[in-house]
Amino acid sequence: MSVGDWLSELANWVFLLLAIPTLVASVMVVSSKNVVRAVLYLVIALAGTAALFLMLGAEFVGWTVVLVYLGAVIILFLIGIMITRAPLTKSVELSEPMSAKVPAALLSFLLFGVVAWAVVQSFDSKVIPLPDEATRTAELGYSIFTSWVIPFEVVSFVLLAALIGGIVLARQDPATPVEQPR
């Protein structure tokens, strides 16, 4: 499929409109010198993926990303930044020096190159049939509670363990005396 053919399809323009901000925001998450901005760029990146899910008709997954990531996980990150007293202004301390950045960038680019080559080799111009209507949440629920009920139970157990583990880890140990600011 040529680039001209690809651009003649309106859905691809919508894709570009969503994918480019998502990718730019992802780059800013890993390169921003300001901690709070890095986390707020994560909001844009995840909102972009949520919009792509809506475009693909995966309505429930898209809104779950909005609720869980944008609603809860981002707040958790911001609280983590505030509690660990990271420098809230520009800081070069947030990333490794250039001598470590160059090999990391090379490795990441190599990974992308290998995956891109393999994907283009095997899936060249295979078209996604755009669904006429969104995936119904009822079908998704039916699939979870019939085919995937055991993985679902495992995930729920992991969430319970994470909840208890989070409380145990973050709780002040009662054996150590609490430092009272006077």
Binding site: N12, S26, A38, V39, Y69, T84, L94, E96, A104, S143
Partner: protein, 101 residues
């Protein structure tokens, strides 16, 4: 729309996240980079689910599992970072060299 464009976006986001994990020093920002990698995986799962027009929507179900596990990972991760900060007064992973030879 082709499947390739979605996988390329996923691969690019995953590589960017990997770069972040390798170069960030602040523990909270390493966790944020991991979230970018997990979002890239979700893009792949949902794109392949729509591509295969699966009746059971397996890709979307597993995207939901990934979201749930990512939330658990972020919660535990922040709790561990908090613990380390409380003990060592720093969230810089380069200073955690207690077990280094």
């Amino acid at each position: 729309m082709t499947i390739v464009q979605f996988i390329l976006l996923g691969a690019a986001m995953f590589s960017v996240g990997l770069y972040g994990v390798l170069t960030r020093r602040n523990a909270v920002l390493i966790l944020a980079s991991v979230e970018v990698m997990l979002a890239a995986v979700n893009v792949n799962l949902v794109a392949f689910d729509v591509y295969l027009a699966d009746q059971a929507s397996t890709g979307q179900v597993f995207a939901l599992f990934v979201i749930a596990l990512a939330a658990a990972e972020a919660g535990i991760g922040i709790a561990i970072v908090l613990m380390i900060f409380r003990n060592r007064h720093s969230a810089d992973v380069d200073e955690l060299d207690l077990m280094r030879y």
